[in-house]
């Protein structure tokens, strides 16, 4: 057994400890903390699996933003926790659930051990066609060119989720501002960090998008960092979430999908198919889509975490 393999076994064990803690912990907030730790460690697993782009996404979105959402929801639901403890199912159901879960795990474990060898792969096809876009990062190539339709539809899923969240607002608060107004000590640490960190964070976020042409990174990962900076400034009370009826915000929410659609329809009109980029302009077109997307992603993710309108626009 090599040193690297020993290290990977230890990593897997620590990741699973986080997973067990997430499920077994009696209280919700520690369970959420366990899930965030699990997600961050899982990012290391992704690095070991040769997928640094996925590692960045898992750390930023899977662990970071999901964690922020879960922590705030857990804090709000705290008072409902006590009475629900008695609703725990009886021993028989728990044993049956454990047997079912063990069976599913065993089936998956067997299929891991029986995966075909040599493994089927599209990596060679992706490498052969990389010249068509002029991008060096194969994952960006897949996301923005070979399977661009997935990426465009996923933008629309994000928007639909935001429409769903907003539609949960009570009628009289429609058009209001999301979430509670945050107040923090203007001389405190949070306000200080919220002033110092965003300039750095904004540059890092845009850099992660820019570098994704040839290195790990991308519009999601960069957009998540931008969203985190926005949320930080909002939580420090330095700015307020805009009312959901604001026009400028709506335009920013639409920028990414609209640019994507226009380029896609352009491919239909001037090229071979929907989303077919002409070879000579592939890279500038992809960059245009990505820059429109990073803005939309940052605003959408920030607003999804901020939640449905809870205050009137004037307050």
């Amino acid at each position: 057994m090599t040193f690297a393999l020993a290290l990977e076994i230890v990593l897997a064990a620590v990741v699973l400890t986080g997973a067990v803690w997430t499920i077994a912990s009696r209280e919700t907030l520690p369970a959420v903390a366990g899930f965030v730790a699990y997600g961050l460690l899982l990012a290391l697993v992704w690095v070991r699996l040769g997928a640094p782009d996925v590692a960045l996404t898992e750390a930023a979105i899977g662990s970071g933003l999901t964690g922020a959402l879960l922590v705030s929801a857990a804090a709000r639901l705290r008072s409902s926790e006590g009475p629900m403890a008695v609703e725990r199912p009886d021993v028989i159901l728990r044993v049956l659930a454990a047997v079912l879960s063990a069976a599913v795990t065993t089936a998956l474990a067997i299929s891991v051990l029986l995966l075909p060898d040599p493994a089927p792969t599209l990596a060679t096809a992706a490498a052969e066609n990389a010249a068509a876009t002029g991008l060096g990062n194969p994952v960006t190539n897949v996301l923005m060119a070979f399977r661009a339709m997935d990426t465009m539809l996923e933008k629309i899923v994000l928007l639909l989720a935001l429409v769903g969240v907003w539609s949960l607002a009570p009628d009289r608060l429609w058009g209001g501002r999301p979430g509670p107004r945050h107040h923090a000590d203007p001389q405190g640490v949070l306000a200080f960090v919220a002033r110092v960190l965003p300039p750095v964070g904004i540059i890092v976020g845009i850099y992660i998008l820019w570098t994704s042409a040839d290195h790990p990174g991308g519009a999601f990962q960069g957009g998540t960092i931008l969203a985190a900076m926005w949320l930080l400034v909002m939580m420090a009370g330095l700015t307020d979430a805009p009312p959901v009826s604001e026009r400028r915000q709506r335009l920013l929410l639409l920028a990414g999908p609209v640019v994507f659609l226009i380029v896609g329809l352009g491919g239909l009109a001037f090229g071979d198919a929907f989303l077919a980029y002409p070879m000579a302009y592939a890279k500038p077109l992809i960059l245009a889509i990505e820059f429109a997307m990073i803005v939309t992603i940052a605003v959408t993710l920030g607003l999804l975490v901020a939640g449905p309108p809870e205050r009137e626009a004037g307050s």
Binding site: V15, L93, A109
Partner: protein
């Protein structure tokens, strides 16, 4: 035994743990948390498949990797919507229980007259 096998087994256990949590934990928030655990286990499983497809000088097959990135973002959207629904239920009903026979509560809905 390779890195892929180790993390593949790890993913299998994560899915099983998540499934157990979804079934046995009565709190909706914990069910959402457990469901995310199942999701990340499935993504990791797919990551192992991608890793085994490493070729052409790449660390893994880029197509499954890109699909997982899309998957993580979609999972986040679904989680955000689920949590918003749950918080609204709590606001409207005064409790977050999923039991059909739960006693009706006075509620704290600001939208109610």
């Amino acid at each position: 035994m390779s890195a892929g096998t180790v993390f593949g087994l790890c993913a299998a256990v994560a899915v099983g743990l998540g499934l157990y949590g979804v079934i046995t934990n009565p709190q909706p928030l914990r069910k959402i948390l457990a469901f995310n655990l199942i999701g990340s286990g499935v993504f990791t499983f797919f990551g192992v498949v991608a890793h085994r497809g490493a070729a052409a000088g790449f660390g893994g097959d880029p197509i499954p990797q890109a699909l997982v990135i899309t998957g993580i973002v979609v999972a986040f959207s679904a989680t955000a919507l689920a949590l918003a629904l749950l918080l609204r239920l709590f606001q409207a009903a005064g409790s977050a229980t999923l039991r059909a026979d739960a006693p009706p509560s006075a509620g704290s809905d600001p939208a109610k007259p």
